[in-house]
């Protein structure tokens, strides 16, 4: 990682560190890790695992938001994909086919959104609202209104297995984030995505194939939603069309925003978004560990998010720089005054 990239995610890293410190005050054992049966165990490991759905969604959402779009349908898409996988596994297709079907469903959902946004020209908010509403219905049709449970241990591994000591979902989001970031920055994709987000018209005029790129980005989002759907479905060993991924689209958008990415599109950082997802999960688990009654959870979470966003806002940053420079000037002036 180069210096500029590190500088970009510094506020998010600082926020995360501060949060971890805060939680540790209330619950000193937060960072303690023990080995149990070849697995690392501890609250922090739990954060890594529980972050998976939102972190995976945040990877795709970062790209969508970079194109100046938004995808509200990812929670519903998660439910569809989970239902498809559970249905296929219980029908005895075998895991590979079930996974492929689920991912295919996610890509299809992305294609639908992408076509509406890029070809038909519907505003992303409205376009994805359609699938957000319809998606749960589709998932319910697949599960026939029940919670579709399964017993396939290989599928369950996706949600709760352990690989090289760490929970499998943690590996999954880490790998996805690293791979996506590499593909974006080692090819020209990242720049092209940013350019259509900043100025689609000018980009198209310069020969950027904005339509295809937009559809591809929404399909990538669909792919991420499928992965996230698989993780939550595998974790509870059942597809719950009503609750799988419920409201997670909002957490994913929040993670991207905490990651300092502008909702107006353009420059993006996947690393920062993923750290944003970690921050959200640390807050959720931290509040529980700190022993607050559960009815406080959402309110405390909201307060912490507001504090983080305010501290990160460019205006506050400019003020802070100003005061720092003032103080430095004053010090220097005093330094000159005394021979």
């Amino acid at each position: 990682m180069t210096g500029t990239a590190l500088k970009r995610i510094a506020p998010q890293l600082l926020a995360l560190a501060a949060l971890v410190g805060l939680v540790s005050l209330f619950y000193p054992g937060f960072l303690s890790v023990s080995v149990n049966d070849g697995r690392l165990v501890g609250p922090a490991i739990d954060v890594l695992k529980r972050s998976a759905p939102v972190a995976i969604l945040a990877v795709g959402m970062t790209l969508v938001i970079a194109t100046r779009g938004i995808d509200l349908s990812v929670g519903a898409t998660m439910a569809i994909c989970g239902a498809v996988a559970a249905y296929a596994v219980s029908a005895g297709t075998g895991l590979p086919v079930a996974l492929a079907l689920a991912i295919g469903a996610g890509l299809l959902a992305g294609l639908w959104n992408g076509v509406l946004v890029a070809l038909v020209g519907v505003q992303p908010f409205v376009a994805t609202l359609i699938l957000m509403t319809a998606g749960r219905g589709i998932a319910q049709l697949i599960t026939e209104g029940r919670i579709l449970t399964f017993t396939d241990p290989a599928f369950a591994f996706v949600g709760s297995g352990t690989l090289w000591g760490l929970p499998f979902p943690a590996w999954l989001w880490l790998a996805l984030a690293v791979l996506t970031a590499l593909v974006m920055r080692r090819t020209a994709l990242g720049m092209l995505v940013e350019s259509i987000g900043i100025n689609r018209r000018a980009s198209a005029l310069a020969g950027v194939n904005a339509v295809v790129l937009l559809i591809a980005v929404y399909m990538a989002m669909g792919f991420c939603a499928a992965l996230a759907g698989l993780v939550v479905t595998a974790d509870i060993r059942g597809a719950d069309a009503n609750n799988a991924g419920l409201w997670l689209e909002l957490d994913a958008i929040l993670a991207v925003v905490i990651g300092g990415n502008s909702l107006l599109g353009g420059r993006f950082s996947i690393a920062a978004s993923v750290i944003g997802a970690l921050i959200i999960q640390t807050i959720t688990i931290g509040i529980r560990l700190a022993g607050f009654p559960s009815e406080y959870n959402l309110v405390i979470k909201a307060v912490l998010v507001v504090v983080i966003l305010v501290l990160q806002s460019p205006r506050i940053a400019a003020e802070w720089r100003y005061w720092r420079d003032e103080a430095r000037r004053k010090r220097e002036a005093e330094g000159k005054g005394t021979p």
Partner: protein
């Protein structure tokens, strides 16, 4: 003397935007404020309107020292401002805009009848008879401009500042506006007029003040000043006169490279034929709205043509969209740089390479070393002034943005380049540089279509000029027939006749 400024200084961290500037405004004069980008015109105006507080110096209005801290305070003191982008509310009616904040009231409620009557009375003074109940946004920029002036004068009434008021008006609208401005001058207002258009300055203004690098250069009666002297004052160096006022070299008949026949689209441009020679500059002249830009958009496939076809020596060319046009070796630098040209938050380097990268495809990124080499090369060749190639292009000046858009196309090595208003909103120095550049490119064999509303510019670069009127191509001038008078006659010849 209605306004008297003495040794006005404004210091920003690192720069002196204004450095001891003196400026006087008489009652009943139109006083032009001129200077290149960065000369300090806007800073001076902002110090007057209360947007900035001056660092030193005095400003006296009718003999009393003033230091407004907000535009409202400046307005109450008597200084009104109208900007290029009219600062009114397009979704309110004309009457509401005129009377905003001082609506006549009856029993505490707005009295709509006297509101309308008052608005009509105000506009009548400007010879404007329009429906004051319609939304302001439904009227042309010129009308909005006059409404803004009427409001500013009604609110302030001593000094009127017009900041680039004519930038988006066509010739007739400009005259309409000037009539209003002259009327206000005769009523005794002091008017400060900021504009890029020297012709308009000579047409309208009684006196001229030139600023350069934050300093006062000269103030003089307009009659006592000729064009070249004025430009010299602004640039501080002699403009290469031959660039602006000599015809382009006679390049002789050029071998035909592209032939467009019957290209048209209903309601946009009537079908027209156009041939482009290799190494030739073709100019498109016409008034605003005559179909110049639309013609170019059809040629580039930006709007699909309904009729006609394009051919080169190898055969028929399909033009379903910009990507296809780029594939045929076309390039298009649009008129509105901000919305259609630059990608503001990307760096200068990325903006230069965007087109090339898009053509190569995302799988084949241009290696970073190659990117740096290309960007540095074009920054040097086109003399783009920047503190570095990683600077976001939105932070560069208009002229440098335009050069970067040109660099983007040149990096793709096109054979046919369309330049729509390539020097709009660019200061005089960069203007001459871009005209020079056009000559150089054509000498290297590039063919260029130039759209411009500045006659001088067309005369300076074109080997052939095509004149448009009312969405039709009405005349083609070649060789000796190309002259300002010839073009204007071609535009006027059909003027008044039914379309």
């Amino acid at each position: 003397m209605v306004l008297s400024i003495r040794s006005l200084t404004k210091i920003f961290p690192g720069t002196r935007a204004l450095d001891g500037v003196d400026f006087d405004l008489r009652a009943g004069e139109v006083h032009a404020l001129l200077g290149e980008n960065g000369a300090g015109k806007s800073t001076l105006i902002k110090c007057l309107t209360g947007a900035y507080q001056r660092s030193a110096g005095t400003v006296r209005l009718d003999g009393a020292e003033i230091a407004p801290t907000s535009t409202v305070e400046a307005q109450d003191l008597g200084i009104g401002t109208v900007y290029q982008e009219v600062n009114l509310l397009p979704n309110l009616t004309v009457a509401q805009n005129l009377m905003f904040g001082r609506e006549p009231r009856r029993f505490g409620l707005i009295d709509h009848r006297s509101l309308r009557a008052e608005a009509r009375r105000l506009l009548a003074e400007y010879g404007l008879d329009i429906d004051v109940d319609r939304d302001l946004g439904s009227y042309s920029v010129a009308v909005r401009q006059i409404v803004a002036i009427a409001r500013a004068v009604a609110l302030s009434g001593k000094v009127l500042i017009l900041d680039e008021p004519t930038a988006s008006l066509d010739a007739r609208e400009v005259q309409m506006l000037f009539k209003v401005v002259r009327g206000l001058r005769d009523r005794g207002l002091g008017i400060i007029f900021v504009s890029h258009f020297l012709d308009q300055v000579f047409d309208l203004c009684d006196r001229v003040t030139v600023l350069r690098n934050g300093r006062h250069v000269v103030t003089t009666e307009t009659d006592a000043l000729d064009r070249m002297a004025l430009i010299e004052h602004m640039l501080g160096r002699t403009l290469r006169d031959e660039v602006l006022h000599n015809p382009p070299p006679d390049r002789g008949p050029r071998p035909e490279m592209l032939r467009f026949t019957g290209i048209g689209r209903r309601g946009v441009v009537e079908p027209f034929d156009l041939t482009i020679g290799k190494g030739e500059v073709v100019g498109l002249a016409g008034l605003l709205g005559s179909g110049r830009t639309e013609s170019a958009e059809l040629l580039f496939g930006l709007r699909p043509a309904q009729t006609g076809e394009a051919r080169d020596e190898s055969g028929k060319l399909d033009l379903p969209g910009p990507r296809a046009a780029i594939g045929h070796g076309f390039g298009f630098a649009p008129e509105d740089r901000k919305t259609d040209g630059i990608v503001a938050d990307l760096s200068l380097r990325e903006n230069i390479l965007l087109g090339l990268q898009a053509r190569r495809g995302w799988m084949r990124p241009i290696p970073r070393a190659e990117q740096n080499r290309l960007a540095d090369d074009y920054i040097r060749r086109l003399d783009i002034r920047t503190s570095g190639k990683e600077k976001p292009i939105g932070e560069l000046s208009g002229g440098n943005q335009q050069k970067a858009v040109l660099a983007r196309w040149l990096a793709m090595n096109p054979r046919f380049l369309i330049l729509d208003e390539p020097t709009r909103g660019i200061d005089v120095g960069a203007h001459a540089e871009i005209l020079h550049l056009i000559h150089d490119l054509v000498d290297q064999g590039l063919s260029i279509l130039v759209i411009s509303s500045e006659l001088d510019e067309l005369l300076a670069v074109s080997n052939r000029v095509i004149v448009l009127r009312d969405r039709r191509h009405v005349a083609e001038l070649t060789g000796a027939a190309i002259s300002g008078e010839g073009i204007m006659r071609a535009i006027a010849a059909t003027e008044g006749a039914p379309a």
